[in-house]
Symmetry: C2
């Protein structure tokens, strides 16, 4: 009765379907070691903690905010504000961990960072001329959200340090000459997914200046910032943002847990209304959230709140075990790459200072066909970098993640990847 | 920096902004009695139940489904399938309470019914020619989701019994002659929001035939079906649907609780792919959910699952107290309307057989100006019916809800409404 060619085009777009192929291959070869999953370690995942966090949040409502029983029931069970009810705790977290000072009123709690991306893009796209710029290679979640809206994504070269500012200016200009309106640049300045690159502080200042001069917003996504293995963290763009050029996209997927589905948007930009008056961009985003998902699950919010409360607002503190584990794993992965591929011609990578991802260049195409062969014959999974390019790019690269693997799995996985590489190079 | 006329048009659309005005007025007059809220009674809302439901679901995973500790952690904490993990319990609930037989594979769990609406509309709208039909007056959630997509909403007269089938056929034809493609009709067959009307069984059969003949899907939304005060429930459209013409939209907002944000879609329609092969519409919807919110909160899903498990899959059984309370309140409201307005010229209403809503016609415009006066001078809130019309309609009608009021509040609220009516009629 229904034909696929009558349904929305995003359903057949690689940005939406690629990960499905990977999941399907992983399902067929459950014994394969997976460097493909960007999921967090489950070292702190315990069911009793869920009960404890919920109780801690209820105590906060009663003891700190002086809610009565009816008030607690309203918060946990009834419809509430689309903006959420834990914005004060998120604002405190941003102060404690990031040195970002924002009012709770500029925060909208979302169903993970993915809903945040969708809401920001929807708000900024009035018609087909509005486009979003994105550092290439790009996190697929951004491209997927744009596809849902038929919104053009304009690739900007990430260069060596995370963004090529000259290329950005040129892309903005060329887009305008084509009749497009580039509204914002999507960027992950810390340990980017997938490239692993972190932007130096000076470049952050430069990027803010360019955004101001070109009148584009910066959509700063920061899921991995806490997971630094070496050196000092540069400030986030949002911490350097007196002109309100940055919309900050928060994810709790890696710092609390993915299935809570709690993210947020910091949008302290003033909006001038043509009929008079001002509002905050956060309030405009909240209107659309009301028409998209109404509220973020109270249970998810309460659990995240409980974890924040237990740790005096610091997710850096509550992730001590995870930070050590990711450091250990990344060091092991980099050492293993050196061992197996240090002398292999055509194989190369850049060691990141943290995060989940290492990009490896190969002397042959790393596509879906090779991925299937890798899983079937060698028992190892990875992500083709071509998934992260809109159009051509990344054909001979793959992304490795080691965030949820044991040291033995990292060692054995790299042996298998080396065997695949040897076999592939000989054909 | 940002101007409202550069942002998406839905931000200034009444379908998205009307409820904001109502909320704002309610906030200014917190002492007003509100007939405006369509929210459920909190008679069963208890914090300990949340802990119990979560534990019950964990036991189900371990004892019934034989998950180990790692499996439980994966379900509750990690990323999972966009379709969710409680589809088997929802399928059982539909069997037990509705006589609907569907495979768990045709179910997608969503962030409340609102995300379900958005996903279905997005999937069905390939370009600006794809339109959705909706019984007028229409639930604002449908119009809001369509506005997010710039998708035309075509109003169809609800007539006396819930749908005017001749008007539907005519609207489909006229739309096609205008170059539009009407894809589906959105309808609430039981105790419609806002009209309160329930479709007779014969008309349900007739509607299914028309949908088949005209090749349109029926989007059946059923948030209030369990809350019947008198007589027997007619079968849902989905229970009468051998041709897979019905996409069934489920809400747990009124039967479990709103803030869980758990709804679902039953989409057992086959999709024929132009490159060969078939899929289920549910799988296509899940792809887009992956790009919109990734997963539905595990905590929300677990709580809903626990309540279903505790009640052998029956929400009818678990809502015994609520069903009595809604019956008692609706009877009191109807009796009070008779008492205060039975002899007032120009005031009229139709008694529904259940649900949350009664529509009252007034001999004067019931608009935002009167609502504000009603709150300020008379201490009573209601919803202007014009909110539910796309364009003209409902100007002299208001919607009353009594689902979350005490009997005293119903009595006093009606006294206040009568005083407003007297004052307004004298001006």
């Amino acid at each position: 009765m229904l034909r696929s060619d009558t349904l929305h085009r995003s359903l057949s777009d690689p940005a939406v379907t690629s990960m499905g192929f990977l999941t399907e291959v992983a399902g067929r070869y459950p014994e394969a070691i997976s460097f493909a999953l960007g999921r967090p370690s489950d070292v702190s995942f315990e069911v009793p903690a869920l009960h404890r966090y919920l109780s801690r949040f209820v105590s906060h409502l009663i003891d700190d905010l002086h809610y009565g029983e009816a008030g607690v029931r309203d918060v946990l069970f009834q419809y509430g504000s689309p903006k959420g009810f834990i914005q004060h705790l998120i604002a405190r977290n941003l102060h404690v961990d990031e040195g970002i000072e924002v009012a709770p009123e500029s925060i909208v709690v979302t169903v993970g960072c993915q809903e945040a991306l969708f809401l920001v893009l929807r708000t900024l796209s009035r018609d087909r001329r509005d486009a979003v710029l994105a550092i290439s290679p790009t996190y697929m979640g951004l491209t997927g959200a744009a596809r849902l809206l038929d919104m053009p994504v304009l690739s900007v070269d990430g260069g060596v340090d995370g963004v090529d500012v000259a290329a950005l200016r040129e892309r903005v200009r060329s887009a305008r000459s084509e009749g497009l309106r580039p509204r914002a640049l999507y960027i992950i300045p810390d340990f980017a997914n997938p490239a692993g690159v972190t932007m130096p502080t000076a470049l952050r200042h430069e990027l803010l200046e360019v955004a101001d001069a070109e009148n584009i917003l910066l959509l700063e996504d920061n899921p991995y910032g806490l997971f630094r293995t070496t050196g000092r963290r540069p400030p986030t763009l949002k911490a350097l943002d007196p002109e309100h050029q940055v919309v900050y996209l928060g994810s709790m997927a890696k710092t609390v847990f993915p299935a809570a589905r709690v993210g947020y948007i910091v949008a302290d930009q003033p909006v001038f209304h043509d009929r008079g008056g001002n509002s905050l961009l956060a309030d405009e985003l909240a209107k659309l959230k009301g028409a998209l998902t109404v509220n973020t699950s109270s249970m998810g919010q309460a659990i995240v709140a409980g974890k924040l409360l237990e740790n005096d607002g610091s997710l850096l503190r509550s992730n001590t075990a995870e930070i050590s584990l990711y450091r250990r794993n990344l060091e092991r992965l980099l050492k293993g790459l050196d061992h197996h591929f240090g002398d292999v011609p055509g194989v190369g990578w850049k060691a990141p200072d943290g995060g989940f991802f290492v990009v490896v260049s190969m002397p042959f195409p790393a596509d879906d066909t090779l991925l299937e062969k890798s899983a079937r014959e060698f028992g190892v999974l990875w992500t083709p970098m071509s998934y992260f390019y809109d159009g051509e790019g990344g054909q001979a690269q793959l992304r490795l993640s080691c965030s949820d693997l044991t040291l033995d799995d990292i060692d054995e996985g790299l042996r298998r990847l080396a065997a695949l590489t040897t076999a592939r190079s000989q054909t």
